[in-house]
Amino acid sequence: MNFDPIILTLIILTPLVGAVLLALLPEDATASNGSKRHAIGALVVTLFTLLLTLHLPAHFNYTAAPHTFQFEQNLPWITNPAIRYHLGVDGLSMWLIVLAAFLAPLGVLASWNTIKTRTKLFFVLFLLQQVAMLGIFVALDLFLYYGFWELSLVPMTLLIATFGRTENRRRAAIKFFLYAFIPSAILLVGIIWLYSLTGTFDLPILQALAASHHIAAPPTALLLCSLAFLIAFAVKVPIFPLHGWLQDAVAEAPTAAVMVLAGKLGLYSILRFSFGIFPDQSRHVAPLLIALGAIGIAYGALIALIKTDLKKLAAFSTLSHVSFVVLGIFTFTILGLDGGVFQILNESLIGAAFFILLGLLYERYGTYDMRDYGGLATRHPWMVTMFVVTVLAAAGLPILNGFVGEFLILSGSMQSLAAHHILWTVIGTTGVIFGASYLLWMIQRIFYGSLGARPDEVSGWDLCAREHLELWPLAALFLIMGVASPLWMRAIDTYGAPTANAPTQSSVATQNLLPPPQTASQTASIAPPSLSSQLETRSSALKSPAAAPQEAR
Amino acid sequence: MAVPIAFYLILAAILFSIGIAAFLIKRNIITIFMSIELMLNAVNLTFVAFSHMWHQVSGQIFVFFVMVVAAAEAAVGLAIIISLFRVRQTLDVDQINLLKD
């Protein structure tokens, strides 16, 4: 049986059905140390999802042409506005999906003991979050995508509000939601504006239109629209000045939630939508983003240096890492983009490992304050090993995965020096050094030296089997991705990223000379034959909605 | 001597405006209610004047219905006022202020 057309639907549906089933499963009131049945359920569901996602790399066509999507499912859904149920993956999203599905069971395991009460609520929300995230990665209809995008906010907000660590949680939840929601409202405006211009939400069509400059709008408006997209994504990433929510949210959210909090969603969205629909505009703002990325790297690292709260340190370290990716992708070089995409995977894995480890510490000692720790290396040899591996991966030690990404990004940034000032590359590179220093310093403060403020409470409890189960796969991946990166790059390369080398078909100036296309169908007739045939097939089911309002009038 | 319709309308407007003013100024709930009745009366005069102008009886019928409705409203309104007075022992709107943020 050929699963290909429905595999993506299955991938989204599985956690959703799991969430519903878990919600219906009554809470076990008799269990003394919190009910485990929901945790087990969630684990089963997430593992099954992971299994399903493995179908993707197995059947992926690694030789596919750029800009094509695989495992597509394209069904009409809503005719006004023309929303289609359009799913598909390409080299960019395929590994991200696997990654997300891979991290989910780890998140469940990480919450195994820490979530003692309201397990049902927790795991239901966690699975919903999973649905939203997978949905974002597979949605090819802008609107569908936006739906998942918004959906991802809700469970996270609730997770923070309900399972937050301190009294600050309600504020943190609201802050998180608003930081994410208001820009995404702007994003919605952009999407709808785009829709009103083109009459479609379909990403491939939009990409084609954009590539051939058939979106009839003044350049300024298009730029503004691209900024609307970019701002929404930038907040989610977060890119340097928009990171206000990160610290609180990371500090409050439980480990499993934190693992998916930052990075990949926003970065993926930038790559997919900002670059896909607004290649010229994105290139236009690239210098700014490169600058912000570089500043973010250095700023995050520097702040992390002075933070004593581990969670906050981790938050700024995350900022620093995602800024790296930003720096990479906005170079618009093949190296930078590949490195950026690869680094998204790395960052997620490393971040996950890091947060799991911090969670373990917290589980044992109930504090994230670095000053309370010290000299734990002797008591927790396994843990310190894992910590060191993670930190080294994060710091970019060769043969571990971080190195590949960072190297590619920095060299990409060197390549594109024409586009921006060398200073930013330098700052970014400096950030790497800072990054290594605060991470190593953290290891030193926690695990070495004398025992911390409460030596008598230090338990001898090293990693248990479950914790080993969480960490070893990650550590193994660090190594595999470090030495066998082509395995991943093969897929990433099929993502047709708009690079500076790629010939731009026309400039902004010539675009204005083109007759403004009125409707999608009209556009199709103007477009070059190859494109038009593609459009024809895609828009055959579409009832050119841009024309609809005019008819209504 | 014939009176322009406009005069009747302006008379109605005067009454209506006085009704509005009374609605806003008066402090006793019953009087406020009365000012609403005054406004309805002004509307009725307008209707009758227009009915005269158009030679259409439907305007008068409208007035008739307004009266019926006013009677129904009076019954309900006064019942509400009574039930309010039972609880609060006052009819002053400035003291009817439990519902505030």
């Binding site: 006004n80 809700v154 929601f181 | 409203e73 309010l84």
Partner: protein, 509 residues
Amino acid sequence: MSTNLLAVLPELILTLTGVLVMLAEPLIAPGRTRKPLGWLAILGTLASALAAFYQLHIVNAHGPVTGFYATIQVDAFSIFFHLLIASIVLVTLLASLDYFEQGAVTHAGEYFALVCFGATGMMFMTCSVELLMVFIGLEISSISTYILSGFRKGRATASESAIKYFLLGSFATAFFLYGIALCFGATGSTSIAAIAAGLAVTKTPLLGWLAVAMVLIGLGFKVSAAPFHVWTPDVYQGAPAPVVGLMSTAPKAAAFAVLLRFLFNGTGLYHSHWILLIEILAVASMTIGNLGALLQTDVKRLLAYSSVAQAGYLLVAFSSTRNEAFGAACFYTAAYAAMNVGAFVVLTQLSGFDEKLRSIDDYTGLALQRPVLSALLGFFLLSLIGIPFTGGFFAKFYSFSAAVHGGHTWLAIVGLANSGVACFYYLRLLAALYSRPLAEQPNSPTRRIALPAAIALAATAAATLGLGILPNHVLHLVQRATPQNLPTASAPQLSANPPQEAWMDAKTR
């Protein structure tokens, strides 16, 4: 079946139900439960909805039906609102079956009857094409809601809510009437079709403009559009929660139906004039509603201001072309009804007859004690915010895109900005629900939700979700439902002027 009977069938059934409830009420001994009456009312409402479906069947087959000398016109538009109102009433009745068991209210029977009668009035509002009929319907619905809002007798807040609602509602009625009077003055008729014809030839256009403005003021009060919203917070705060659910949706839906018919079918000629007023109303409602809600601590007041804002979003849809405005506005009404009634049903269930939970802080951590209800409330709140794939989202989407197509992009932008502001206060409630209380309370035994209320909740949630996932069908239905003026049986006054000559003849008689 005669056309007349067919035309009023749903209303007739509801009226009979109300009468039956009243007649059956004395048969139940004092002190006994009044639930059977509630079930009777529910059955009646269901029957009325079925009758509306039957009408739809007829209308689909034979086109719109007019009845009673063209005072009412049954078309897809009116049937849509009939069904909507019937559903709202159904849900309200289901939710309040147990509500009145909790308190010592001895008038549960009258409550059910009043709800039925009120719904009759609202239905009449939606199908009348004669302003007199609209007025009567409006009054029936208003008076029953005045009474219902004061139903928790003996509580000072209830009476206060009722009196405020009553006074301001009657005040608004006076304006509405004045508007009708001026319409009559400008055209010599009070039938919407005749007004449309008359305005085209009238020699006193100023009267027409004034009429439209006055009607807008009057109906603005009824739909609680700012700046005519002053009654809303107080009334919602004091009225019983299920009643608020009813009166924040059904009469508003009916009033919007009237507004649509009156503005587009009656005074469509003055579109360029009233559109300005609509814009002012919409912007003021959205802004004042949202800013007001930001300052509230009482949940019902918060939802009251939110309903003001929602009315504003709905009014945005009016700025578009005819068909689109009808589609968007009707869709908005339906979505708003689903989510708002749902929210109030949850409040009813959470808060109980005595409304123990008032301020937002009272809801802290409620999700941990009443997970299902809280999840539903959260869902409705998200829909009110306008998260995609809820009814609230598409409602806003259609409304705003209607505005954009109508060339009022700035209105859509204001609306969007307001939606952003709005999520602040919805979130406060949502976050309160889901934040762990400071002191972890022991798991109180979860009260079971009674079956009728559960059905009501499921229905509203399904409707909200359904409108979010499959908005198409509803939108198609409502867009198809855009009503046309049918030629009236009694020929409208088509002369430009009052019949002076005839009058001269009469004088010499």
